[in-house]
């Protein structure tokens, strides 16, 4: 098991190195003269060249990349020239908030989808199953911005229960203790995931219900409830664990829409604003963070699945 984790970790680090190289190169191709961007169209070519030389942007790409990696290892993500702030500080401030809303959405989605999916599998082709499946397809096909707008229209305008704007506080604690303000963004995030997770969970559970060990458990005289909790649950959740791990970046992308819709100052909103400002150091850092989260998500999923299902170690 230890060896397996170390191996997966080493592979993850290699992947991250690759991601950083590709992202760096792409941004370099898009804008090879940051001085022009920072100083504006009116600045003289000399001033731009001076700026680039001063900050090392005139060196060969490889040298710039190595320098960037070096600073990265020291925890320096660069500096936003537009906001005149450390990118690290900027991201850290927003990441906490993004993580909170993503996590809340994810937990809510799992809490509903896992039991729902298993219920659908156990009562296959019943009315419950059919209704849930139909609802899943409709919700899955609904874009999250539309869903968010509908939720605002209904629960904020027509029946004013929740505010249309998310909490603006910079303190996660304040955000955490103000569920009313976060309700709509979290629900918007969760609904789409519930649709996907429940269908996934349903098919995984159906798959497991057909396995012989379920029949064996029945032959032991176990009541159905215990068969589900003791034997089915764990095996039926493994595929979902894998899926959730790989969904982490999608959650960030979802944030992009939900955060801008509810004007919630998280990573997604920061990314959108930076895009408009052509603030490349921020974009570079955001993309890299996305890569780290994806890789970390897969890594954690692999390890959790391997811990839950000991056959993986042999097969991987």
């Amino acid at each position: 098991m230890t060896w397996y984790v170390l191996r997966r970790l080493a592979v993850s680090l290699l992947v991250l190195l690759g991601i950083s190289a590709v992202v760096f190169l792409m941004l370099h191709l898009v804008s090879d003269s940051p001085g022009r961007v920072v100083l504006g169209q009116r600045a003289s070519p000399e001033a731009v060249a001076d700026f680039n030389r001063e900050h090392g942007f005139d060196r060969p790409v490889v040298a710039q990349y190595v320098g960037y990696l070096g600073r990265l290892l020291q925890g320096d993500l660069g500096r936003s020239y537009k906001l005149n702030e450390d990118v690290g500080t900027l991201l850290a401030r927003n990441a906490g908030r993004s993580a909170m809303v993503s996590l809340a959405g994810l937990v809510l989605a799992l809490l509903i989808a896992v039991p729902l999916g298993i219920l659908q599998a156990v009562r296959r082709n019943s009315v419950v199953d059919r209704v849930a499946t139909a609802a899943s397809y409709v919700l899955y096909a609904t874009p999250s911005f539309l869903l968010g707008l509908l939720l605002i229209a209904v629960f904020s305008q027509t029946i004013p229960i929740f505010p249309a704007e998310a909490s603006q506080s910079h303190s996660p604690w304040v955000v955490f203790t103000d569920p009313r303000a976060m309700a709509l963004p979290v629900i918007t995030l969760a609904v789409t995931s519930i649709a996907v997770f429940a269908q996934y969970q349903r098919s995984a559970a159906l798959d497991q219900l057909g396995q012989d060990y379920i029949r064996v458990a029945r032959a032991k005289g176990l009541p159905e409830r215990l068969i589900l909790t003791r034997h089915l649950l764990r095996n039926a959740c493994l595929p979902l664990v894998m899926l959730v791990g790989t969904l982490v970046p999608t959650l960030l992308a979802g944030n992009l829409i939900v955060e801008s819709l509810f004007n919630y100052p998280g990573l997604g909103l920061l990314f959108l604003n930076s895009l408009q400002r052509e603030d490349y150091p921020v974009l570079l850092a955001y993309t890299l963070i996305g890569g780290v989260l994806t890789v970390a998500g897969n890594f954690v999923a692999d390890v959790v699945v391997a811990a839950a299902d000991r056959r993986i170690e042999l097969g991987a």
Partner: protein
Amino acid sequence: MSTADGSANTDGGRLLTIRDLSVEIRRGDRIVRPVRGVSLALDRGETLGIVGETGSGKSMTGLAIMGMLPAGGRITAGSIDLDGRELVGLPAARYRAIRGNDVAMVFQDSMTALNPTKRIGEQVAEPVRLHRGASKREARARAEEMLALVGLPRPAERLDDFPHQLSGGMRQRVMIAMALVCEPRLVIADEPTTALDVTVQAEILDLLDDLRSRLGMSMILVTHDMGVIARHADRVGVMYAGRVAETGPTSELFARTRHRYTQALLSSIPSLTQDRGEELFSIPGAPPDLTVVRAGCPFAPRCAGATDRCRAELPPPVTEAGGHVHACWHPAEGPAARTRARLVVPAPAGSEPTGSGPTASEPTGSRPTASELAGSGSTASGPRLRVVDLRREHPAGGAGLFGGRRTVKAVSGVSFEVAAGETFGLVGESGCGKSSLGRMLVALDRPTSGEVIFDGEPVTRMSARALGPRRTELQMMFQDSNASLDPRMRIGAILREPLAIQGVGTRAQRTARARELLRDVGLPASVLERYPHELSGGQRQRVGLARALALDPKVLVADEPVSALDVSIRSQVLNLMRRVQLERGLSSVVISHDLAVVRYLADRVGVMYLGKLVETGTTDEVYGSAAHPYTAGLLAAIPEADPGAPRAPAAARVRGEPPSPVDPPSGCRFRTRCALATALCGQEEPPLTPVTGTHHVACHHPLGREESRS
């Protein structure tokens, strides 16, 4: 346990009485009636064997006793009396208290029969905690005790293992421990050894017998294998189409077979002692559709002795002396005589093939030898197929970031030759590399080293382009015709495809050829328009053979050609294959774990063990005077469908299970399971050395003629 001991320690009490049991299962708007008026009885300490083919209702009877009918299933009539308690109509909660406690079930081993994410100790302990209310620690101690009883080595260390860490035989032992942990009065074993190798099967069945008498249980053994029944059951129920055709004490039933179906079934099993010159008896047609209720005896449409009465009236059960009950209007007298239909050497092309029935017989049981046939049709003078020191290694699991890759040594230096018109049989247990070898023979896989030389040309070194046209001459017939026929293609398209790929003829000509092929394998032309799922297993396997023959190959490799088929269908396909071999002068390689099948089809046989050939010779030599202890052990492990057949002494059995092909033992690979192994066997690998001109064995201590089975 022999049948004699079995009845000796019986205290005479009836444990289970099934009366007129009927089951129906609703599937959509169809109603299947898998069990129709079944009556069976079981005494304490006795083993009742329920035997039948797929769809005979034997498993469903077992599930009905367990109260575990599939969704949509219910008992429509009859009663199940367990020791004075009526099980039919018992409330769910009270049934649960019986399941796993008074009545337990052992299922067929499959990878998923044990929960993959729970430790085996927990799984074995679960019924004890449930039914006996034992504490965690008590249950664990009981599980350890039980695992020791079923012969799991070092059970205390194994309690925390996961199922995938055990071999198939060990998993089945765990499954048995799980069923018996509450010491039930009745255990139902549903095909408990069907997925296991023959040597392991023998051990598991002996274990079940032993436990049954030690724990004083009764057992219902559900199986399709008449051999298993003959060796392990005290009483037999033969089922056909949801009804009991015949039931009675084992020795009585085998000696004085009354029902025509039982008789036909017994005759169609290829045996190890049968005259190989005879054609196998086969039952025409296929088992009936269980959704329709038809008047008369269900076996009548396939029965040679059927009369109008059989087709009109259902035969009632008739009880004879000794509790022998049968349901047949025209009962037979004793076991069937063999058919005496001889296999004939085909007349020159153009003549109609002779299916069955007595024909001009050859003087002896011997088949036309390869050399006789080699003269016609073959151009090369050498062997048609030559395999030289063939090796294949697959990477095993994940490789480390550092360090070498571990490999599965699937095939480790195999050499043999197949002459034109000859059939070479490859036998061995699962994982011995016989299928890997088969795939390389037809160039579906490339060897790690060594060569396959076909008509003087090494196919293993050809480029894909050069191989293309060569493939017409090397064809393969697969085991699972369900998986090897494209479900979305009609049979016509499946048969035309190889011709189209090789650019043979026009579309109309290809269709004509497809029709011809179907006729050759005994299928009507209407099959052309059918989809694979519309055909029965036997028909699909015929299509598989037709497809392999479409391009008129010179070499046919058949990998487990009949393993997926029921006995009555199996003999039809075996007869067909043998006829085709003879008619076409094909060189074929037949791969099977079933020694009787290989014996029936092959002229020469190679026995494989862990990637190596341990013995080769003519079929009579290998089966008649096996020189390798492994071959002798395999032969001893096969249960003959005859309760009177002499048992091989326990010492001749092969013990344990094959070691991993990742790290094969040094020296002789078989030494870890061999009773005769000495220090020499561990140091030096025995080469294949001749016993006679055609008989070779790789053993330091080959069995003498007098020791082996004759």
